[in-house]
Symmetry: C2
Amino acid sequence: MTESKRKKQIQLSHGGGGKEMNKLIKELFFKAFDNPILTNEEDAARLVLKGPTAFTTDSFTVAPLFFAGGDIGKLAIAGTVNDLAMMAARPEYLSCSFIIEEGFELDKLKTIVNSMASEMKKSGAKIVCGDTKVVPKGCADGIFINTSGIGEILQDGISIKNIQAGDAIIVSRDIGRHGAAILMAREGLTLESDLTSDCATLWPIVDALISAQIPLHAMRDATRGGISAVLNEWAVGSNVEISINEVDLPVADEVKGLCELYGFEPLDLANEGTFVIALPQEYANKAVEIIKLHQGAHSGSESADSGFIGEQAAIIGTVGTERAGKVILKTPWGSSRYLDLPQGELLPRIC
Amino acid sequence: MTESKRKKQIQLSHGGGGKEMNKLIKELFFKAFDNPILTNEEDAARLVLKGPTAFTTDSFTVAPLFFAGGDIGKLAIAGTVNDLAMMAARPEYLSCSFIIEEGFELDKLKTIVNSMASEMKKSGAKIVCGDTKVVPKGCADGIFINTSGIGEILQDGISIKNIQAGDAIIVSRDIGRHGAAILMAREGLTLESDLTSDCATLWPIVDALISAQIPLHAMRDATRGGISAVLNEWAVGSNVEISINEVDLPVADEVKGLCELYGFEPLDLANEGTFVIALPQEYANKAVEIIKLHQGAHSGSESADSGFIGEQAAIIGTVGTERAGKVILKTPWGSSRYLDLPQGELLPRIC
């Protein structure tokens, strides 16, 4: 390998704790993520927090690293920020830890890092501490990113255990896009469509719901396991029956098509910028209206660049008490069936 | 593969967000790490903190996973807890994220998880949130673990920028053991010795120093890049000259022997339970005395099980102003040379 090619790749020395690592950290990470807490170079960031505070972590191993609608960097920020947002916590401080395979292209790393920096602008979160490990070729597949996040809880009591009979269930947009986009990228499919992942930072939407004083009972972004997993965990967690009208579930035609082709259920497919809410029936319409105001890049609104398109937000079901712990799916033909927690692993490395 | 063998291995479905993942989380992780914040099953842990607070992250990719004196689980707890301790922060809350290769033995995972649970007892830290990803065979090497940590800063102002002319430099024990132990394990060496990694939770020792009201200027555990990296970062960070007496540096004979065999410098080798302190000269002897009270499993003291053996704690140097930004190593023969930041990567995947 020529010296110039080597310079464009990550070397083991970039994770060695010496000169090369310091250079990578200062010239790439500190520049992209610049803030005074990060660049103080102590062993840990120094924060001043006031309780209650939310704390969460996620490792991202998605393959491929780049997909329609995002990349692993965008996902690593949006994913952890969304976990905070789902607790009604304002995303404030993030940690960021890279595991990079020796030989990984420096240009790709820069693209990913810039994507992270850009996504953080959508919530105001800051990376305040980090870590970089480089493993020999063949010991990891490209790059894995862990982000942990801390944020102040603005509306307390939102919980998997707080869903009540009579609540409405809302989904924030059409479902299954992230899983479908990854499947498409992985299979090398080029559909006659503009199917993209829903990957997006949800804090602006949650912030708007909190500001409008909507009494949120439970919120969760429907990532791995999709809507099915969230609803089943909720039904068990609050010991209620959740009943969903299939006809009200927004699903894009492209997602439906891919599901038919590969034998997936849109309800089981992962999302990365789609969330479910349980809240009192009388606030459901107002919440849907607020979500619909967020129209991604085309709206011209303040949150124009969040990438979240809420035009298909919908009330999809209700909460009852009869078959506690179960999720019921009502079909358009009047029949109904149990919707189960997904089993097996159909689509690995989705996030 | 037989069904019973499959059951003893991690499958892709263990990371799929469905039934199998829930089972793994509840039956293994929740049992080992049990505490009410973790098991509430929300998207994020809910904490009540009062500032100032330290926040840090580390990913662990060590190979081999098991070595003399520890394993990746012990390392993943001690490493992050020590980063908090070095800020004089009481380790309180940890996140834990696993990236596991498909086919990884469930028994090994249990050993690692139990090792984590046992190491947390030495500081009182608790895992309050987590994440599990499984990647297909060949996409990772066994298991990687990320831990992020949060803790209350008990003594503020400890900083890489706070080292002052006239300060003494202390090392807490003999150096280079972790690097040497990993090298030994990797090369399949069985020395006629009981060389073990120094991997240990340092909070009990730091807690004792704080309780004794020792005015600590800077503290850092000398992990990747060893003592050389810490001292060089300090000399630059505080714009001072740090002068070290080689003869005062405690190094075990086994570590010296391995270094001669492989051409390493003990000062560059990684440690995982050895730290450096800068503090006013007049407190140096008292600090060394306190550190020496910690004698690992043989002492019968309160911290008997911390695994830290401080009997070789020593004052190794002083801080001056002349050659600011430089570290000077004084040899036993009266000569001296610059001690540089390590370069290159001699020993990858040390932590």
